[in-house]
């Protein structure tokens, strides 16, 4: 079989994308700031430490329950900065527009970008606009880049991950994935699920201000919680043990997953953070998270265990233990 073309699985956040990034992009661009493949690069300029990130948004439909592509483009980039422990300051916004795209929809998208940025005290300071002939892009694609500052004194703990550290999720998983799926053309599915699309600067800020216990953070977007935990285990060479029963999932999300054969752990989130927390601080940090509206359902879902093989294991609801992998290929349903 000919594998030498890009397929949709190269963009799905799973194993194929992981390999494309490692074997092409990192190989060609390699440098100490890129190579850790964190959500944002950390740059040292004079005495300052800056966080720098970029992301493109191609979500379909453009408007969905709980948000739209513009809100997503601002929140997503802010979140990539804040999970690195940075305070987001400035964004860029580039638009690729398709000939014939209604200006009314563009106005709605841009208005929500502006509101979301203002609420996070972030300025959109530069941008670009391109229009391509009809049929050469799907309505609108947006790219945002973000710059943030890593404040001295607080931020992420420098302590290494050790056995007993707690793994915490800030709320229910899979909401964004199911909201998009349900809103997508061709799927007659009615749910009340809204995307969790939200900027996490306040939630994470409230934790970092009060505690020095956070050792690692990531927002589990494409590839879901499973991809985030696999990434964590591999990049930090640690083993992780989680309990499925402890992972918060909304009932309607669970129901749609049952119906279509999805695993909630593989579904995208746009307003959640996974944290690794020093054992003694976990309880206090879960309380801090729960005190914020975006963290009400925060829960400890597992811990770092000894071994160092870079493996994630999960005790299933039924009690058996299995390994957790990145989702493979596109998300596809079971068929009978």
């Amino acid at each position: 079989m000919d594998n030498k073309i890009i397929t949709l699985s190269h963009g799905a956040g799973g194993e194929a994308m992981h390999r494309l990034i490692k074997e092409l992009f990192v190989k060609q661009f390699s440098n100490p700031r890129l190579n850790p493949l964190a959500d944002a690069a950390i740059l040292k300029l004079n005495e300052e430490r800056l966080a720098f990130t970029t992301d493109s948004y191609v979500v379909k439909p453009l408007e969905f329950p709980g948000g739209n592509i513009g809100q997503l483009a601002v929140c997503g980039t802010i979140n990539d900065l804040v999970v690195m422990g940075a305070k987001p300051l400035y964004l860029s916004a580039s638009f690729i527009l398709e000939e014939g795209f209604p200006i009314q929809i563009l106005e709605r998208i841009v208005t929500s970008m502006s509101q979301t940025a203002r609420a996070a005290q972030v300025e959109i300071v530069t941008g670009d606009t391109k229009v391509v002939p009809r049929g050469e892009c799907d309505g609108i694609f947006i790219n945002t880049a973000g710059l943030g500052m890593c404040p001295l004194g607080h931020g992420l703990s420098k302590a290494p991950l050790t056995e007993g550290d707690a793994v915490v999720i800030s709320g229910t998983i899979g909401d964004h994935g199911i909201a998009i799926l349900a809103a997508r053309e061709g799927l007659a599915l009615q749910t009340t699920i809204e995307s969790d699309c939200a900027s996490l600067h306040e939630l994470i800020g409230s934790v970092l201000k009060e505690s020095k216990g956070v050792k690692w953070m990531r927002d589990p977007t494409r590839g879901g919680l499973a991809a985030a935990l696999t990434e964590l285990a591999e990049s930090q060479s640690c083993d992780i043990f989680i309990r499925e029963a402890a992972i918060p999932v909304q009932e309607p999300v669970r129901a749609v997953c049952e119906l279509l054969g999805f695993d909630p752990l593989h579904l995208a989130n746009e307003g959640k953070v996974v944290m690794v927390i020093a054992a003694g601080e976990a309880e206090r940090i879960v309380e801090l998270l729960r005190a914020h509206p975006l963290g009400r359902a925060a829960a400890t879902i597992g811990q770092i265990i000894g071994g160092g093989m870079g493996i994630v294991r999960m005790k299933t609801e039924a009690g058996g233990v299995r390994r957790l992998h990145r989702p493979a290929g596109e998300l596809l349903p079971r068929i009978c």
């Binding site: 890009i6 194993e15 007659a188 493979a328 009978c336």
Partner: protein
């Protein structure tokens, strides 16, 4: 307690596992789950992990994507290359390699291949796109046959002329007969598919216990269902009897869904069908009756490439329960869910994919 919560209760599961262990089976017992849904559930909940070591679970020929043969995929690819044709398929099938390529490869090269969650959605799409000819790839068993029959009936009522079916629909009893007639069959008990028996009724499988002396239990899909089914099978083994029992009483009846059976009979007639791992099994498929030939994509004449089989791929042996996926030399090295060489590594219900994704530690454990 919510019903679904009960059927996943870890305490209940453990209790049943203890009862199973107390049977003190003197010999190893090999149980086969026929349905891909069961394979997926067993691995997803890691039920292997909870069973006494003498009980071994092997997968059978009940994952529809897995048993789809190369010649069907090749034919679908030829249709996909025709101008104005849109191929509609259930998700997993698009990544299954045919003789030389997959439908996903063709899509990446510009063919219009779309994933639908139900035939009814595909019919709606066809109505809205009268300029295209939609070919639905009908894979699956009696459950899918029933929804496809209803969809064709709907197309007939609404005079939708740009919808057609390429059928690889299969019926399960014939394949199981072939499986157990083979001299190398090593199955001590059979976990019968809950969804198929919902349609055809469990009486359709009575012959397996009677003719082959293999204990059979119809099972639901939740962890408690499957553990209870395994216990029921092991009891039969311990008591040296072979009968058909129904664990999935809340859904499955002896006669099945008679109306659904009538609908299937009205639209389809039995035909010889090619199965991956089995070859052609007489009368084990369903094709549209000639009165509905207008909706049959089998009648479209296209040139199809000569069928080739991947000599190294052992999906056929996996589907017949002859080997565990890890006994295939390609497993986990050349063949992974991202670079599948065989259908069993593609489908979420395939034994190879399930073992790869959900093994307890290193692959094969």
């Amino acid at each position: 307690m919510e019903p679904l919560t009960y059927f996943r209760d870890a305490h209940v599961v453990r209790q049943i596992a203890r009862e199973t262990a107390h049977l003190h089976l003197s010999q190893p017992v090999q149980l086969m789950e026929v349905c891909g849904g069961h394979t997926a559930a067993i691995y997803r909940y890691a039920l292997h992990d909870l069973l006494p070591p003498e009980i071994k679970l092997i997968s059978g020929p009940g994952c529809p994507v897995c048993v789809t043969s190369n010649d069907f995929i090749d034919r679908a690819i030829s249709l996909a290359m025709l101008p104005d044709v849109t191929i509609a398929t259930f998700g997993d099938l698009i990544r299954v390699p045919g003789s030389t390529r997959s439908l996903a490869d063709m899509r990446a090269r510009g063919a219009d291949v779309r994933v639908f969650y139900s035939p009814a959605d595909a019919l709606e799409w066809a109505k809205a796109h009268s300029e295209r000819t939609l070919v639905f790839l009908g894979i699956g068993f009696e459950t899918t046959a029933c929804t496809l029959a209803a969809t064709i009936a709907e197309a007939l009522r609404n005079k939708v002329e740009n919808f057609s079916l390429l059928s690889a629909l299969k019926t399960m009893p014939e394949a199981l007969r072939v499986l157990f007639t083979a001299p190398d069959a090593q199955v001590d008990g059979l976990i019968l598919p809950g969804h198929v028996t919902t349609i055809v009724g469990w009486h359709a499988f009575e012959f397996i216990a009677r003719e082959f002396s293999i204990p059979c239990v119809v099972s639901g899909f939740e962890p408690v269902d499957l553990m209870e089914t395994i216990l029921m099978l092991c009891r039969q083994v311990a008591e040296k009897r072979a009968s058909i029992e129904n664990q999935y009483r809340r859904v499955v009846q002896k006669q099945g869904n008679v109306r659904a059976q009538e609908l299937i009979r009205e639209m389809f007639e039995p035909c010889d069908m090619s199965w991956r791992g089995f070859g052609v099994i007489p009368e084990s498929g369903l094709k549209l009756r000639s009165s509905y030939s207008q909706w049959d994509a089998e009648n479209v004449s296209v040139e199809v490439e000569p069928t080739q089989e991947d000599a190294a791929c052992r999906c056929g042996d996996v589907l017949r329960g002859r080997i565990h996926p890890t006994q295939c030399a390609l497993f986990g090295t050349v063949c992974t869910p991202d670079t599948p060489r065989g259908a069993c590594m593609v489908s979420a219900e395939g034994a190879c994919s399930a073992v790869y994704q959900f093994s307890s530690g290193h692959h094969g454990q």
